[in-house]
Symmetry: C2
Subunit: 372 residues, 2 copies
Amino acid sequence: MFAHDIEKNLLVLPANITNSSDIGMKKNIRILDIAKKAGVSIGTVDRVLHERGEVSKETRDKILGIIKDYDYRPNILASSLASKKLITFASLTPLAPDKEAFWAKPMEGIGKAINQFRQYGIVLKQFHFKMEEPETFNAEAAKILDLAPDGILLAPWTKKESLKFTQELDNRSIPYVFIDSNLKEANPISFIVQDSVQSGFLAAKLIDYGIAEGGNVLVIHITKNLQNANHLLQREKGFYDYFEKCNCEKPHLIKIEVSPDEIETNLNTCLSEVKSIQGVFVTNSKVHLVAGFFNSLEKRPKIIGYDLIPRNVDLLINGKIDFLLNQKPEAQGYMAANLLFDQIVRKEKVKSSNYTSIDIITRENIEYYSSI
Amino acid sequence: MFAHDIEKNLLVLPANITNSSDIGMKKNIRILDIAKKAGVSIGTVDRVLHERGEVSKETRDKILGIIKDYDYRPNILASSLASKKLITFASLTPLAPDKEAFWAKPMEGIGKAINQFRQYGIVLKQFHFKMEEPETFNAEAAKILDLAPDGILLAPWTKKESLKFTQELDNRSIPYVFIDSNLKEANPISFIVQDSVQSGFLAAKLIDYGIAEGGNVLVIHITKNLQNANHLLQREKGFYDYFEKCNCEKPHLIKIEVSPDEIETNLNTCLSEVKSIQGVFVTNSKVHLVAGFFNSLEKRPKIIGYDLIPRNVDLLINGKIDFLLNQKPEAQGYMAANLLFDQIVRKEKVKSSNYTSIDIITRENIEYYSSI
DNA sequence: AAATGTTCCGTGTTCGTTCACGAAGATAAT
DNA sequence: ATTATCTTCGTGAACGAACACGGAACATTT
């Protein structure tokens, strides 16, 4: 009577009656099951699953109905095993001068993820551009278009070039994931970034928490071209916002914009003019360049900066820097690669916006922030 | 001449000459390849791989040599697909009274991982014990032994009962992973915990950073049975250590041990006797129980506690608590399940000790610490 | 010498897909 | 009516590993 209900592999429990103390017990419906229900062969089901036509509208609708009703999910193990074609991912990120550089970290995470995906037939081709030379971005982007990969991990460093590239990707419907920063005008399947404004806000809180009322606080941008560095401006904004909104006595904020090679003169001038510096906020990883300057003062100001690059880490451990804000670049890379995988291989809908946590690092907790 | 070198699927590049700009391109050697090289059939290779005998020592050694030389890694896709047997994981954790409770979080992470593993034929059976009733631990442990799962996720809450259980697991060579705390006397394949001493150390730093020199600092244990709560004692130790080692002016530390239902009287007495409380450190998630007491003081002390449970989060956001230390319980669960998977399914060696980061949470960064 | 064990190893099927190939049946062109 | 061309669908061989089964070679017992 109910033989069909208990026939092997055809028993598919509705999701809502699964035993809540067990996870993963639901038996998936197979292509063969769908075929039987529809009275066709697996070849036909396969054709509608892969949308390669040659199926009458009638049977197509029938099969699609069954797929929906029984919530068919392809078995990616069998799928990847049977599929002989390679899936190619490409990454386009700033060139990391050495293994210690910031941009080596996301690549680490990406590499780790890709290695786990190897048996799924996934390969990654890495491309790098030089941050100061937008032409190199275009050149590498062109190479990627030639390669025609199945998915792209992209750090959209300069807006104009990135938009041109992503528009072309949209045309060719090649999915891409943004890493490190986002472009509202583009259509990535997902982006994974840190909230820069909020991180500046947090930095201000940490300064505020640690200083006596009043006094002077330096906000230092160390970059050659501040206008191109949107991150830094947003961090600054968050920092200022905090003191606007808080009901604390607002310190006197002094903003300094300087290129890496002019720090010495610039900061010496500043120190001779301003007394009683209670806090220093450096808006990027270059904080190691300024930490030494305040040793001479009778009371060192609270110093806060960004990123766990080795020189910063040393200074943090030695007590010359109070806080580093971290954005887990390895984890970002790892997640980004996983997002592409979920989208392309697992064919799942992925969260389109991903904000990484804003980690507060001190010498007391840094040792647990090294690995992924 | 070199035909065998380029024969399909037999081309296995040494790892050191892979192009560094590409990841995942190395072709894996298959069982069939090993069989050919050894001049036997795949059946024989399969027998030595699974150590089920019936192979002469001679050919066995030959095959093992090839496996080693060519760094054979089984294709887990094909492997899981072909293997019809279910792999059962069991978890034994404290019962979470509701979805918001602390112990619901690790289960969330575990569940997420297990769902990703479903197609590998993995199921999870959940077991829970009541924290105050060690007998329930024993009862559930017995159920698990009956079930004879392939791997176990275990929160070793009470030492005696846990050791008895893990010894039995050792006897039956069932692998287990510790979560939340570790037992030096046991032999888990891995443990994933937070360094409690260091977290107390960090808490002290945050108090120290925020208070003026001197003054009184309260250390509050809120528990029914402090001696059974090793975590809390270690956190206290780290907290005291900090002020011993630092070259700051050490505040006067006042230790309070109180059960959850006696807080009110206890704390009121304390407040009437001690003036000028600058900092409060609560050694567990019960910090929400005390935050309200200090509103009446003209200057609220700095308050720090543990864990992002809803009541704490509310108080943090409302500015009644300054810092919460977090141990990413979801991520712990997720990682623990992945460790079991890597060990049992992927047959990889896993890191035996895993320390989660000690996250500093403030109202400024909490919104990015909710999800996994 | 035949019968029976042992030891060692090969073969074939299966897992759920992918995909090339080809076979019907219907329709259109000759 | 015959051939050609579509449209629509089924079949069977992979993919790499797991595992049951069976078979050959050799040794041991009657």
